[in-house]
């Protein structure tokens, strides 16, 4: 707006800075990538780079990558890394790939921020929308978030999902709904759970589509929704077919999505599932698996209905909920959610617990690794130590989700009741 060139230069500098920081970390601390790759907070069974290498090795040697039950990631990740020069000899190419993906994600986030969708959507315009951060700031907050950096250095494959989700949102906002749906299909293909973002994303696309002037046909939304759904599933079908051709069997479905659905790998992570299912009686296991998945997906409908006016908020809140309640969460999911939150700079004054939330998240960030060490390496603690800290972490994130939802709703409500602006309210 105020001189495209300056902005371009600034963002280019920002991206360059982020890339240099990451490269420096990669090269100056050669032990760091492997250290971070081994951390359970960063690498989950479905995103670990180590497991990816195992799968790649098997794949390169003409064995099904899913043999041995180590690799649980999408098959199409394999050809990408197969084409890169071997990781053991030229790791720099892998580093560059991860850095590029991070910057692409940041770029998509920048586009989202610049669109101003967070403050004024098609059906709702916040009175506070002027108070916002520029895209560059938001991109910087994402790129220099320690969680994002750690994920990048740890080479978790979540970054691909993150990138696809952000591009889906950015494209939906800029009106390219087909592109958005294909991006969502990529995200769902890689991690499955982003498919739950489909309803709010369709709403977002519908609101942002550029229509010719004049009234729309009353049932236009049915056609639109149908097209979008077909688009996503068409793209997914193409991806599945390609995976099938690549691996030669449908085994990948059960080894990737099956593992997420049945939680067959109980490696500890920062989520709430693993401990629960370690302890669960076998006869109730399948029931509570279903309950957990239903719980995860039940928010989609409610939030979409309640926040129909601001679909981007729905997506943001859902990303926060996924970061807490999905089967194999990592800090990468938290970093995506935390990257989206600054878009709502305008409602920050309405947040009530920002200090508590920040304190809890920092507390969990430092104590989590310490307790994990006590449990696994020192042997002086047990699993409860680590699980307790993941509960605290989940509490911090869910407080943030709740508080953000509260702030956005209050913002909406103040439009309705302008006389209440700035006054204290209380729930009854």
């Amino acid at each position: 707006m105020n001189g495209g060139k300056v902005t371009l230069g600034r963002t280019a500098g920002l991206y360059a800075g982020a890339a240099v920081l990451r490269l420096a970390l990669f090269t100056l601390f050669p032990g760091l990538p492997d250290l971070l790759t081994g951390r359970v907070e960063i690498s989950t069974p479905v995103t670990s780079f180590k497991r990816l290498q195992e799968g790649l090795f098997l794949y390169n040697h003409n064995v099904s990558p899913y043999d041995g039950g180590v690799y649980h990631q999408a098959p199409l990740l394999l050809p990408i890394f197969n084409l890169l020069p071997s990781f053991s000899t030229f790791p720099i190419f892998t580093y560059l790939l991860y850095i590029a993906v991070d910057i692409l994600s940041a770029d998509a986030l920048l586009r989202i921020a610049e669109s101003g969708e967070a403050g004024s959507s098609a059906r709702f315009t916040s009175p506070r929308r002027d108070k916002r951060w520029s895209g560059a700031v938001i991109a910087a907050l994402f790129l220099f978030n320690p969680f994002t950096i750690a994920t990048c250095i740890g080479r978790s494959t979540t970054v691909f999902t993150t990138c696809a989700i952000l591009h889906a949102i950015a494209n939906a906002i800029s009106g390219c709904h087909f592109h958005a749906m294909i991006a969502l299909a990529f995200a769902s293909y890689l991690s499955m759970y982003p498919l739950l973002l489909l309803p709010p994303l369709i709403l977002l696309c519908y609101d942002r589509q550029k229509q010719p002037a004049g009234p729309r046909a009353p049932d236009a939304w049915i056609k639109f929704t149908g097209t979008m759904v077909m688009d996503v599933f068409g793209a997914l079908a193409v991806l599945f077919q390609m995976s099938f051709m690549l691996t030669g069997s449908w085994e990948f479905l059960s080894s990737t999505y099956g593992v997420q659905l049945t939680l067959s790998d109980l490696t500890p992570n920062i989520g709430l599932w693993w401990y629960f299912f370690v302890e669960m009686f076998d006869s109730f296991r399948s029931f509570f698996l279903a309950v957990f998945w239903l719980h995860l997906s039940s928010y989609v409908g409610g939030l979409s209905v309640r926040l129909r006016q601001q679909p981007l908020v729905v997506i943001t809140l859902l990303l926060g909920i996924f970061a807490i309640f999905k089967p194999y969460p990592s800090i990468a999911d938290a970093s995506l959610f935390l990257g989206m939150v600054p878009l709502y700079r305008h409602v920050f004054p309405l947040l009530r617990y920002s200090f508590v939330i920040a304190a809890i998240i920092i507390y969990a960030t430092f104590l989590g690794p310490a307790f994990y060490h006590l449990w696994i390496y020192a042997g002086s603690g047990n699993a409860n130590f680590f699980y307790a800290i993941t509960l605290v972490w989940g509490l911090g994130l869910s407080l943030l989700v709740c508080d953000l939802a509260f702030a956005v709703l209050r913002d909406e409500w103040e439009v309705e009741r302008p006389e209440m602006v700035g006054k204290e309210i209380r729930q009854i």
Partner: protein, 571 residues
Amino acid sequence: MTARRSTDHGAAGDTLSSDTQTATLTSTSTPMATPLEPATAATSSTLEEPPPEKLSDVRRRIWVIVSFWLIVLLLGLPIWWKTTTIHRANLPLKEMLDWADGKACRPVFPLRISIQANSLQEQEAQNLLRLTQHALDDLNDFSGHHLRLQLSSPAAAQKQKDEPDTALTIRLLPGEAVTATLDPYEPVLDITYPPNAAPSATSASSTLATYVAGQLRSTFAEEQAIISYLLSSNSIPSDYRPQGLTPEAAESLAKRTTRSLKYAPTYHLTFSLFTSGPLPSSWDIEAAIQDYMKPVLDLLSPIHNFTIDTQVQLYASPGVQNQVLSKDDLSSFINAAEWPLSPSIGGAPTVNFIVFVGNQTIALSSQQDQDAVAEGGLNTSQSWLIPQWGTVYLLSLPHDTAHVSVDALKQPLLTFTSHLLSLTGTPNSGSLPLRLSTLSRIRSADLLLRASSTLGSLARLALALKSISIPSSVADGVSKTIVHLRRACETLGEAEGLEHARIAEAEAERAFFEKSMVGQLYFPDEHKVAVYLPLLGPVAVPLVMGLLNELKAWRKRRREAAEKRKAKKKE
């Protein structure tokens, strides 16, 4: 409710909170949002009246609640039902118990015996056959074991012999006197008779016929005894049991079953050479097995497979150090703690054959025997059999023997071979081919009975343990078992019968030992409350409260609408 509304914004907050009372907020907001009643709002005197809730807001709230409840009702409930019911596949319990009680199958071995009487007239032969059959039927007291005679014509003789259904062929040959000899190579009984012994076509009795019948009966006596013992020990109803089983005979039969290994399609034979010192350190075991044991293994191959491994261990000290071993010592001779005698390779049961090179000798219990040992040891034995386990053979060799030759192994191997036969349960009497065919019949009956009793056990367990889950694979296994049992029962005594019995037994075992049938054995209902409540309770509270509140509001709206209508009508 009014008390809570302490500030002037309480009423306004209502719209907000009631709309967002999703589970997201439950962690922070404990008091439930309740729609404000105008009446109470009016009482809060000085406060300004909140604007009435918009219709669109009400509808939206209903949609939110419905969206949650739809998931609970349409997905949650069916999943709960499906995942927590204990799956109990339908088992044909009655039929299974019938098998176990012997009601479903009457094990009958129709043994076909063909008579070749080339030298007799057709008519005479027929008569002889009829008379012999009569004599047999008179002698036979065990209906499960039926010998049926048939005449084989000379032309068909060659064919008949090949036919596997024929258990025994009797060759009647004219000779000097009445004699009977079993052919050692084939299941053939040669009976010679003097010319005058042959019955005429019309005579009503014949000594030859009685003789033949007696011979047949004695030939199959052991088989009969074993099978009837099997039946009786498996609680098959008594009318099939022979009456003439003496206690001694029963005891020896019990001993026989104790000695013989449980049937397995494959046995693993371990040949071990243990030496008390550094020598000998090698042996020609492969050649010895090839020479002295392989032929018998080949003969047994239709019934069992064998895998073999061998080992040598030097400086092996036995469990008993005495120079002269008494019978009591023998049972602790095996040094189980130090000898590596339990290869856990494969799934087949192991039969151990041990050659111990040392200078110990066995003294049979009495004093005289010990004297004999001192004199030259002719009367000592060198080996003993451990029931269901194997054989130990004490081999004494010159001190400097470094290598045990094939010749030295001949005697041990021959002992092992004969012990292997008795370990596999081969009967002792008769010629070798007959013993083997008897073995296969005994094994068929044994397997049949074991499969039946497993079915019975499974049925009784299914009845007794109500909370055990029965996966459908068990039901499949049971139905397969029953099918094969039925076929085995029909074809008892034939090669096919053994095969069916074997499959039936394997299937029955698999069904009984189904891995997923363990799990939750004793899980009282109060434990279930403890499982459900802490997890589903917190989720259920906002859902249920939201629904109740909405229902209340809906009823109130209806009442108001009705009143309004009434008022309108009045106007």
